[in-house]
């Protein structure tokens, strides 16, 4: 008698929450079998709609995402959430946040929430986030939300390559202009001004409005709407969901462009990661790479010449 043990990839595809959790851990820990796993699930991905959510710390992104999840669950969508949460290793906040957030959807098998706290060097976080989103996609979640704090290049890239980018702002810091300067304005398909009951909410909306006025929108081009929410009370969430659906319909024909940007980002990221591994572990040893860095720090060689030398020694050309 032959007993068939389903592979982890097969269990992920069947939507098994424990398999999903294990698959994401394998990715997060950068274990050697992570690549094989993504290879195996990759053909079954591409049908989830990716929602990127970003904004400054304290804007209430988690609450917006949680309430949005409750809203879309009523319509039968299944939801996977990857919260990029570059938390201090000292506070362990990511894990705590996970538990707190899971409570709201604890009984609901249609929702899977995972915080990513990876702080690997060389863009490890971006890579792990994309791969975790693939796992949720392969597991059949119809919506996958990637939620990031902050405005760094990596995180902006993650959100920008989602199917829709939502920027959550909050009034009350008194520094509207600073928020507008945060480098996340040009990526928004939908703006959310959360905590809209606070003083300054209308001023924040006006700031975003005048920012939009400076941009030229062509005929039939999407003009990002500004949705006022009080997420903790659920206010504005149905309007947000409506805006997401409107954008999805509007952008159906251009979705290919986003998919492409996403995969371009992923391929470049993998290439650079593996090239550095080759240089530091095969071409040199970690010790010899280290010694070279020491020589640069001592100004015995400049970094451009050192890079040129390593390139010419490593590349077939």
């Amino acid at each position: 008698m032959t007993v068939t043990v389903p592979t982890l990839a097969a269990r992920v595809r069947a939507g098994d929450p424990r398999a999903i959790a294990r698959a994401i851990s394998i990715i997060e820990d950068e274990r050697p079998d992570a690549a094989a796993l993504v290879r195996e699930i990759f053909p079954q991905t591409g049908s989830a709609y990716l929602i990127g959510v970003t904004g400054p710390p304290g804007a209430g992104k988690s609450t917006v995402v949680d309430k949005l999840t409750a809203e879309v669950r009523r319509e039968g969508e299944s939801v996977g959430i990857v919260a990029v949460d570059p938390t201090s290793p000292f506070t362990g906040g990511a894990i705590l946040g996970d538990r707190l957030r899971m409570q709201a959807h604890y009984e609901d098998a249609g929702v899977f929430i995972r915080s990513m706290a990876t702080r690997g060097q060389l863009g490890g976080l971006a890579r792990a986030t994309s791969d975790a989103a693939l796992v949720l996609d392969a597991a059949g979640k119809s919506l996958v939300v990637i939620e990031t704090v902050g405005v760094g290049q990596d995180e902006v890239d993650i959100v920008r390559t989602a199917d829709i980018s939502i920027v959550v702002l909050v009034p009350g810091t008194g520094d509207d202009v600073q928020a507008l300067k945060a480098g996340i304005m040009e990526i928004a398909d939908v703006y959310v001004v959360n905590k809209a009951d606070r003083e300054g909410a209308d001023r924040m909306v006006s700031s975003v409005e005048s920012n939009l006025t400076l941009q030229q929108f062509g005929d039939g081009e999407w003009r990002p709407p500004i949705i006022k929410t009080e997420a903790s009370a659920g206010r504005g969430i149905p309007e947000l969901w409506q805006a997401i659906r409107a954008y999805r319909t509007h952008s159906a024909s251009s979705r290919r462009r986003r998919l492409k940007a996403r995969n371009q980002f992923r391929l470049r990221d993998l290439l650079t990661h593996r090239y550095l591994e080759f240089v530091e572990h095969t071409l040199l040893t970690p010790e010899r790479f280290d010694a070279l860095v020491d020589r640069i720090a001592a100004r015995e060689v400049d970094p451009y010449s050192a890079a040129d030398d390593l390139l010419s020694r490593s590349l077939k050309r």
Copy 2:
């Protein structure tokens, strides 16, 4: 008669502000002569003390840096400031910010301020920022401040590899925990709680304090102080400068480690940038790289297999 025309690098080393500005523009625009320029100035760098300043948008980082600059100028230090300002191309905020900020130090040849708004792909911002700091270092600025908004991986790396990392926080969003979760807490050598006259300032200080309490500091290990400032009124700025000097004295023996991290980051960044250039322009053409990305987006090939193939075709091994 021979007329000697000083090279741009020589004029940078002489501290000529127009040469500094031009050198940074060459770097920011990623012009082909940027590498040669950095090569030429590199041996004269390494004496500036690099101060990294980060924190969430709206924390008042620019004001803190400007007032700190005024403070240290009185002691004869010369100051270069690189403000990483990933501003929307629509608002042109970086350039405006530059002009507004320059006014305060307009008559002072000992201060050079430059906002970097580069948003090149592949970590172009981090690379340009490091190189701009090198220019200011070569130009003889005794302090070089790198100021970044946001908490992304790249920006954290920039600040972490400075000689001292200052994290500026602000009370009043009512989300202290969020601020603590911003991924920038573990890199701070000095905390600033700015706008300390605001409600919630003491609560913010307590939050940071309890965060520090969770960490274990060994005998003689630096425990990051928390400085309360009202930067717009100049309050707390002398105390901040004192904390910076105390850290500098304390960490003199470990400065080598920071210098090394900085140069490791730079070498890896250059290697990855150039390797991708090779793959996309020499091994393949941009069109063929593009076609490969299309095949990944169409799920005809997975990104790991595509990366493996490109690596084996490009590397001598």
